[in-house]
């Protein structure tokens, strides 16, 4: 076998070489120092290209509920209702993962749609219903948001059942939801700010359309409850320094974002209020990772707007950030923006 061309090496590195070719290549590499050296170079090039490209990303914001993306009715009424129902049930299945779009001052709409929680009538209704009736009941769905918490579940009935066992996470979600509910009146434009641009135009004519309102948290934050629990020692290793938190508060858990080097410290403010402190090494290049959580976290490294104190304020998310020593720290919890900001100021390396 003559030396391997770089295209083959890239396909190999990309994990896209067909098995037979891969075996042949690996056999050759074992014998050929030249090709091994080339492989090393190509690997570095590949990583470098990913890093370069990865440094130009949009600041990532949570996706609006898919249900919001419905288009203007163009077909028969039956068809419209049906697709609406279908979309609504999707919103349901997506659950907490699809949280509020952050407000955009630049895209005001006239008629704020009432934030209506779509998902929970699934909790009440036990069987699969026909799409039409489901759509209608979705429109006036009452509260009980936490049935939204499970993202992946296809069968919504299971959602409710699965909520029960994990009392801990249910409690947290309930807290978040309370926080979100408290926030809603203060920001009347939250609902309509979920749509923008072309979609906003489409939505304008249907201002009565329901919106899913779950939590202001970005996707990956909501998923944080599923991050693996780690020890403090591991947290320190990941961060390269002591994790930070609020001094004097009980630290409940350390968790790690499986996709990046982010760590979350959960602390209890009191028996019913949990504060989450997200942290990771500031600066430096982040390995490219196409996974959702990783890119979401990585993108938060690129600040969009600072307030006077230089603290990062992510629009509408109740998520504030600052740098503490070498760490970039974000705080989240069911509290007012002011409270969160004040808490954030007190964040320090844990004793």
């Amino acid at each position: 076998m003559s030396h391997v061309d770089e295209g083959t090496l890239h396909a190999y590195l990309d994990g896209e070489l067909p098995p037979a070719e891969r075996t042949a290549l690996e056999t050759h590499l074992a014998d050929c120092a030249t090709c091994r050296a080339t492989l090393t170079e190509e690997r570095a090039l590949r990583e470098r290209a990913s890093a370069v490209l990865g440094s130009a990303r949009p600041a990532e914001r949570p996706a609006p509920p898919l249900e919001q993306l419905r288009r203007e009715p163009k077909r028969s009424p039956w068809r419209v209702r049906r697709s609406f129902a279908w979309a609504a049930s999707l919103a349901l299945a997506l659950g907490l993962g699809y949280s509020l779009r952050t407000p955009r001052a630049s895209a005001p709409l006239q008629t704020p749609a009432e934030p209506v929680v779509v998902a929970q009538n699934r909790g009440a209704s036990t069987q699969e219903e026909k799409p039409q009736s489901q759509a209608q009941s979705n429109v006036q769905a009452p509260a009980q948001r936490r049935s939204n918490d499970r993202r992946q579940a296809g069968a919504a009935d299971k959602l409710v059942a699965r909520d029960a066992p994990r009392a801990d996470s249910v409690a947290q979600v309930a807290i978040r939801v309370r926080g979100a509910a408290a926030l809603a009146p203060a920001t009347p434009r939250l609902a309509d700010s979920m749509v923008s641009g072309a979609l906003a135009r489409a939505e304008r004519d249907r201002s009565a359309a329901p919106s899913v309102f779950v939590d202001g948290a970005p996707v990956s934050k909501s998923m944080a409850a599923n991050w693996p629990v780690i020890s403090r020692r591991v947290a320190k290793t990941i961060l390269g320094e002591e994790p930070v938190g609020l001094p004097g508060l009980e630290t409940r858990t350390f968790r790690r974002d499986p996709g990046t080097n982010a760590v979350m410290v959960e602390q209890a403010l009191d028996s019913s209020t949990v504060i989450q402190i997200f942290q990771r090494p500031a600066g430096g290049a982040y390995p490219y990772d196409s996974s959702e959580a990783a890119s979401a976290s990585a993108n938060r490294a690129q600040p969009r707007a600072y307030n006077a104190e230089g603290q990062l304020r992510e629009r509408g998310n109740r998520l504030f950030a600052r740098f503490v020593r070498g760490l970039r720290v974000e705080i989240k919890g069911p509290l007012s923006a002011d409270s969160l900001n004040r808490l954030l100021e007190q964040v320090a390396p844990l004793p």
Binding site: D14, L45, R46, A49, R70, Y98, A198, S290
Partner: protein, 168 residues
Amino acid sequence: MPDDIAEVYRNTYPALVRFLYRKVWDAERAEDLAQEAFARALVHRPENTRGWLFVVAANMARDEARRAAREKRHLTLLKSEPDAVHSTPEDDIDAETRTKRVRAALDELTPRDREALLLWDAGMSYDEIAAQTGLARGAIGTTLARARRRLVDAYDAGLEGGQHVARG
């Protein structure tokens, strides 16, 4: 049976926004277009949602680029000083500069190489890239190798040639 769009939405939305961003270079526009693409998918219910989305998104980005060219003059006018006076943190400047460099470097690639690279970066497989670009599957590795080299070389050349010397 069409794909589960909800699943595709959850997994692909960020990648689609990123893909679009590197074509239109406007984060909000990229989000709008990505959402528009999904909205269309909800109506059309394509068999292969992911592939379909990227085709639609690429088309929208192309239209967008034409439109943007027309509006460029207006944008220049709109981007006047007042906003910039707000204490812009250094990080922002750096991020902006970096984005400009990446953009300039990407412009050095041939359209086909660039497309392959952006699709790969958006999480597409070689098969999917081949289907979308019309390249032979066996040529994707070579295309990506060339695209990566070109990107890195152009980016580094931009760093050396630019008047800003990297600060860190």
